[in-house]
């Protein structure tokens, strides 16, 4: 069994700098790839709540995205992250739409209007139907009540192009932790998780069958089950023949 454990903060920087200068530092990633080991996120230090982990679905997501034309359009359902924008804009060369659904959830909670979320999310993503090549949905569905989740899923299926992909993370169990996660691209196959306060907790964990029903218009392209129980699922919209 091979385990890749990357560290964040300064040590993460050192890791990255070291990687540039040493081929051997790349090897753990390849080992992980070859032996199909998925790495558990780990807390890096008491002073830093950040974690870094290998994400096979991110690598595949970017792989598929990179195969799209240069004018591909990506939608990020999380808060804006400058380094991700730079990565997607400069290295992948796509147009990025930032639609922070987490902020929408918090706003509705603060205004005591959670019941209105489904209505709000209908037409929330103001782009043409079938115009988006890829969606980064992160773990937003863990925080949405069922009706709102169903509405958002329908919206995603509406805006995705045939062949377009959606990356979502689905938790294994509910949690009382009042924090959302920001997902930073560490590189093309690693994500750095940084946490920030939220108005709600991870309450609405979906079972596999719920996910399959909710995203019936999409096919599961790849699923990776982390040891934590989190399911990273890469969906693809069917191409009509």
């Amino acid at each position: 069994m091979s385990i890749v454990h990357k560290t964040g903060g300064l040590s993460g920087l050192v890791t990255r700098l070291g990687r540039q200068n040493s081929r051997s530092d790349d090897e753990p990633s390849r080992v992980a790839e070859a032996s199909s080991v998925v790495v558990e996120p780990r807390t890096v230090a008491a002073t830093s709540a950040e974690t870094v982990y290998a994400s096979k679905t991110l690598a595949r997501f970017l792989d598929l995205l990179f195969a799209r034309p240069n004018d591909a359009e990506v939608m990020d359902l999380g808060p804006v992250i400058g380094s991700n924008i730079t990565f997607l804009g400069e290295r992948v060369g796509c147009k990025i739409h930032v639609e922070d659904i987490y902020a929408d959830i918090d706003r509705h909670i603060h205004q005591d209007r959670v019941a209105q979320l489904p209505e709000f999310l209908t037409g929330r993503l103001r782009v043409r139907p079938s115009s988006i090549d890829a969606v980064l949905g992160w773990d937003v569905f863990d925080y949405l009540p069922p009706m709102a989740a169903t509405t958002l899923a329908s919206e995603l299926m509406r805006i995705l192009r045939p062949g377009g992909v959606f990356l979502g993370f689905f938790g294994a169990r509910a949690s009382d932790d009042p924090r959302y996660t920001k997902f930073f691209f560490e590189d093309e196959s690693h994500l750095r998780c940084r946490y920030y306060p939220s108005a709600c907790t991870r309450r609405w964990v979906l079972q596999n069958r719920d996910i399959n029903i909710m995203f019936a218009g999409l096919e599961v392209f790849e699923t990776v089950l982390l040891k934590s129980g989190v399911r990273e699922i890469l969906f693809r919209k069917r191409i009509l023949s």
């Binding site: 199909s36 990179f66 599961v220």
Partner: protein
């Protein structure tokens, strides 16, 4: 030689079209359209803009509602807030800033696709995985 920097103060409100050929800092309020083709527009921390903006570079510390078009760079600082579409070859967005809209970096000299490093295994077939076969107890494709 000392070059004066133009600025619009906190108490100034402008409705309409604003254009010029020097760098400009806005601390007041502008509703309409701003054009500084070859110069830098800075929206100060007190600035409130509701406008379509075109400039060489745009730095945002205050609030902007409207589309930003820069020939060089858009820089949204930590205190900055932008709601609109950004078109610029370079975009920097600080952690903690607010952004809602789209970003098009219109990269003309797009790097060759091969420049993007990818693990070798990714050249495998893109056939969707079957929903079977747990692998070595560590993870499973389900």
């Amino acid at each position: 030689m000392h070059e004066e920097k133009a600025s619009i103060g906190k108490s100034i409100v402008i409705n309409g079209e604003l254009s010029g050929s020097e760098d400009l800092t806005i601390e007041g309020r502008v509703d309409g359209k701003i054009e500084l083709r070859d110069h830098v527009l800075t929206v100060g921390s007190n600035g409130r803009i509701k406008a379509q903006v075109s400039a060489k570079a745009i730095v945002v510390l205050g609030q902007v509602t409207g589309n930003l078009n820069a020939t060089e760079k858009v820089d949204i600082k930590e205190t900055g807030s932008v709601e609109g579409d950004v078109v610029a070859p370079r975009v920097a967005i600080a952690d903690g800033s607010h952004f809602k809209g789209s970003i098009d970096m219109q990269k003309k000299d797009q790097p060759e696709k091969g420049v993007f490093s990818k693990p070798e295994s990714k050249s495998k077939s893109e056939t969707p995985k079957t929903d079977t076969a747990p692998v070595n107890g560590e993870f499973a494709r389900v």
